[in-house]
Amino acid sequence: MLDRPFDTIAQDLRSTFRPQREWVQRKGLLLLGAFFFSGIGAGGWLFSLYLDWNQGLLWSLGVVVVASGVAHLAFLGRPERFWRALSRPQTSWISRGIWGIGFFGLSAVLYLLMGADPWAEASILGRLWLVLSVAGAVWLLVYKGFVFAYCKGIPFWNTAVVPALFFATGLRGGASLVLLLAVAGPSGLELHPLEVAKLWLALSFGALLVFYLWATRESGVAARRSVQDLVRGRVSVAFYAGVIAVGLVLPLAWSAVGLYRAQPDSVWIVVALSSLVGDLYVTYAVAKAGICRPLAGDFRVPARTPAR
């Protein structure tokens, strides 16, 4: 932990690889928490809609608005000015995300207040809020990926695969959230479709993760170093223990077994919790592995320089 200013100075004067630290240290972790909560809340909303389960809708809304909203606010250096973040949706992905949370929260609340049943005898207004809340949820699932992907300074993030990865993570987290709530409380839901969906989402996420690491290896020296840090460097413990073992292997194994043999509820609770922990670790590991483009790492005198 670089807590002393003189440690950070030493890092800043390096001419090679400098890991980003603002989003993984101290209050920076709150932003990762905010991204995590907005993702699983949005995913949970979609799955609760699919299962037509009002309790799940309420919980998912709470996770997005309360947990993610509070984490976003607590992360800011000047939270009392948060409203200013609404002023630049035309260019800033952070601003678009804040708009997305507000848009989703409003449409979801109105949808719940209308008490509309999406599948039968729904009012036009209820259907409108339903569609808007789904659009808001999808927006929340993708926006954090675009927040990362915009960063030109960090080649490991600056790729189109990141939004897809976080989309899959959020969906899987949402399924896990709903599964956890459904098993932990008296829901009376038929869980088999959810378990199958979760299994496929976990497989998709695993494939995306492999593709992401393979693709970014070719994105320059900094991105390659990030991948090295993930698989055998300073982030490898979080990657192997959090993302792979707890987040992927354990839920996949139990889910696969559960498809053929009924499992007690406690097992599904463990599966859902481990998936959620894994999703949190995905965000953390990707953020932590981010390395700034070296200012002088590829320094050389160009053979032909574009003259002004």
Binding site: S15, E22, G77, R78, S87, R88, W93, A296, V301, R308
Partner: protein
């Protein structure tokens, strides 16, 4: 008018004078280096050592400005990019978006003499460095507006830094870039930095 800087790597002796001059002029807190000097070697043995002074590149198309959700990062008509600390919410997205690592976040009040309290100089200068916001080099805009050069330029003992109008083909910076084949860092990113380097 587009202000820009040219740094002659042949003249730079790596004395860190610009780094200190910047600190003295702007009173940046400990750990905050708006101007830095990186040391590197390149080529095969006998490798050549080069000091590479870096600062905010005041890009023509600054990604930090687009990333800022509040409009706190402002690009003036003369090309100077600065942070309006009264608008910054401290989300640090600009720090991630900047490919030149030239932004710093003031997470708390840091003393140069820990436990001894702020010196009168720190009390005076820290008004420009409020807690919870991001700050960066602004080409010493308070000096530039008075017709002076930025502190790092004025204090460079090797006269390795030049400051002027990049849009004026007759200015010294334009002439040096043209004659000495000046180049930018990471031109491939399309940000069009206003800081040029002359080869060593």
């Amino acid at each position: 008018m587009r202000y820009g800087m040219v740094i002659d790597l042949k003249r730079c002796v790596g004395c860190y004078g610009c780094q200190i001059a910047c600190k003295a002029e702007n009173g940046t807190p400990p750990g905050v280096l708006w101007a830095r000097v990186l040391k590197l070697e390149y080529g095969e043995y006998p490798a050549r050592r080069v000091s590479l002074p870096v600062l905010c590149m005041h890009c023509e198309d600054p990604p930090c400005e687009k990333a800022c959700p509040t409009g706190a990062t402002v690009k003036r008509p003369d090309g100077i990019v600065y942070v309006d600390t009264a608008k910054c919410i401290g989300c640090r997205y600009c720090m991630m978006a900047c490919p030149y690592q030239s932004r710093y976040f003031n997470d708390k009040v840091r003393e140069y003499f820990p436990g001894k309290g702020l010196t009168p100089y720190e009390k005076l200068k820290y008004k420009d460095h409020p807690v919870g916001v991001v700050t960066k080099c602004h080409f010493c805009r308070h000096r530039v507006d008075q017709g002076l050069d930025p502190a790092c330029v004025a204090n460079c003992m090797a006269k390795a830094r030049y400051f002027g109008d990049l849009n004026d083909p007759d200015s010294e910076v334009s002439r040096l870039i043209r004659i000495r084949r000046g180049y930018q860092l990471h031109p491939d990113l399309g940000t069009d930095p206003s800081v040029y380097y002359l080869p060593p």
